[in-house]
Amino acid sequence: MSGATSKVELHFGATTDVGKVRTVNEDSYLAAPPVFVVADGMGGHSGGDVASRIVVEEFAELAGSTHDPRSGAAAVAELLERCQSRINQYAIEQRLGGADRWYAGTTAVVALLVEDDGTPKWLLANLGDSRVYRLADGVLDQVSVDHSVVQELADAGTITRDEMSTHPERHVVTRALGGPDDAEADFFLLPLPAAERLLLCSDGINGMIDDATIEAILDNAGDPRDAADRLVAAALEAGGRDNATAVVIDVVGLRTDDASDAAPLTVSLEQKLGALP
């Protein structure tokens, strides 16, 4: 990294586990600053792990890159398109080879540190039901919005948030890489003080442990490597029914003296509470 981005340093940890039930780990991850990716492959006969690996291979291109939010979003969109065509090309080859019901797809969550007029920011992208969470001031916040049937049903008010975790179609995604439709990702742009710690994970984490547990682990583990390990361990302990992958990234050394919007980070809790009505 160079230029103003050198003001911040990224500390990170990544852990993945096949889980206790499945035999193949179809999750893949990439941790190559300034880019981080989690991809949750789906499909039988090694389709899923091929698909998620393609995503990681392609995004490795962004390792060591410097982007502004706009060029970063364009680069991510282009790489996702390339993944889409590579996965579909692979699927066609498999089908022509006789595996006529072969299919492959994958989710993808991407975090790319970009530089906006000298200010580093997180550019995030999401396709499918893997998630990006952030932890700021000890409070967990889910940033990405799943592209899943249950999320759409909840948004439409058809089911409640609580019913999402038990709904029979909770694993069905509405957007993903691979498949006949163009997959358009959702993008997010976050200022760094609002995301001191970022978590990218597959649904083998958030499907097994609830947000309160995730928050407690992220808040208590000092080292991001410990945080990632503990999240995966907790998911295994809760049953480990799916591949579980966690990538935890800390932003360290964020200079707060010249950023007026970072002022709240330096005031004490008492000051903050006192300022409230």
Binding site: M42, G43, G44, R70, G105, H147, V172, R175, P180, L189
Partner: protein
């Protein structure tokens, strides 16, 4: 057949993947990947925009985001051409042939020519030999020729201009038909089809998402391999745009700004897309081509929320003007419109902005709304 169709088309083209926007004063060609830009450019070109205006719109998002394009504009006997990317063009100007190739330049190739009598622009490799005619409109092409040298097989017009096909029109006089056909080049014998799957075949082999479910469902209740896509109509879950149901939504990025914001700091911002203003604004769930503008304002007393408000081009009844929405800010937003009493914005409710309006975010930060 109507008169429109027998009028000689100005240009002929071969079908393909590129988008061609033909206007009275300008022609814009864009690669298939630039689909999201096409509608806005059509609006501009059809309104009679010339070279400068169209070029401005093309590069407004930065050149890096535009892998290739061709812009041709002819006025008063002078033809201006800009090529970027894979496109190639051959012009006959004052009797001389001028060949231009966009891939030879890292930015673009620009040329001003006079006395252009003929032009051929090749955009992509294609086996297509069918020539169609067009004067003004939006079509997908692989090659464009002007003037149309071959008798066009058909005239393509925008759907709104195509008269509804009347049954009696089927009875075309046979003489016309013969004459029409003889004017056409003898079609080449069909080349052996490449072993490439057609769209239909692809759809069959890679069927609708319904058939895209796991091969063998593992025992129920198990997480294993359950993640999959089901019989979902993607349209059901398309990103929701605000606006009036049944009305065409405004594009999230407009070709021309609908308003200008003047901040109390002196900074000015054009509203041609969503603008987010706050102490440390966050943008959520945007598409890769509609990245909002982010305006950070100081707030020493913490009166302004991190993402305080949004100003964006309005849709539906607000089309053509800007609307402001308080994003659930802690301390609220006061809007003063000319001739109206100050109003507190309701969180999440968009209010149309009149030029001259003042938006007060607190902490001494105000935004004045002016015409662009």
């Amino acid at each position: 057949m109507t008169e429109l169709e027998t009028t000689a088309a100005r240009r002929s083209f071969r079908p393909g993947g590129w988008y061609a926007v033909f206007g009275d004063h300008a022609t814009v060609l864009l690669p298939p990947s630039e689909k999201p830009r096409v509608a806005a450019l059509w609006e501009l070109v059809d309104d009679g925009a010339g070279f400068d205006e169209v070029l401005d719109a093309l590069v407004s998002g930065g050149l890096r985001e535009l892998p290739g394009f061709v812009l041709v504009s002819a006025e008063d006997g002078t033809t201006q051409v800009v090529l970027r990317g894979a496109a190639r063009a051959l012009f006959t100007a004052d009797g001389e042939e001028v060949a231009l190739d966009g891939s030879t330049a890292t930015t673009w190739v620009e040329r001003t020519l006079s006395g252009v009598t003929r032009s051929v622009i090749e955009l992509e490799e294609s086996d297509e030999t069918m020539e169609l005619g067009v004067s003004v409109g939006l079509v997908r092409v692989s090659r464009v020729e002007e003037p149309a040298t071959r008798p066009p097989a058909a005239v393509v017009l925008l759907p709104e201009e195509v008269p509804a096909e009347e049954p009696q029109e089927a009875g075309v006089e046979s003489e016309d038909l013969t004459g029409f056909e003889s004017g056409e080049p003898e079609p080449e014998p069909e080349p052996e089809p490449e072993p490439v799957l057609s769209d239909e075949q692809l759809t069959e082999r890679f069927p609708a998402p319904a058939a895209w479910a796991p091969v063998a469902a593992p025992d129920p209740g198990d997480h294993d391999g359950m993640t999959g896509a089901a019989g979902i109509e993607p349209d059901d879950f398309a990103r929701q745009h605000p606006g009036i149901p049944g009305q065409q939504p405004a594009p999230s990025v407009t070709s021309r700004p609908v308003a200008r914001l003047v901040l109390s700091s002196g900074e000015t911002v054009e509203v041609d897309r969503a603008v987010l203003v706050g102490r440390a604004p966050e943008a959520r769930r945007f598409g890769s081509h509609e990245q909002p503008r982010m305006i950070t304002v100081p707030s020493p007393h913490q009166e302004i929320s991190s993402t305080h408000l949004e100003v964006r081009p309005g849709s539906g009844a607000d089309h053509g003007s800007a609307v402001v929405t308080d994003m659930g800010s802690t301390n609220g937003t006061v809007l003063v419109q000319p001739g109206l009493p100050p109003e507190d914005l309701q969180p999440g409710i968009a209010v149309q902005l009149i030029p001259g309006a003042i938006i007060d975010l607190g902490d001494g930060v105000t935004i004045q709304v002016t015409n662009p």
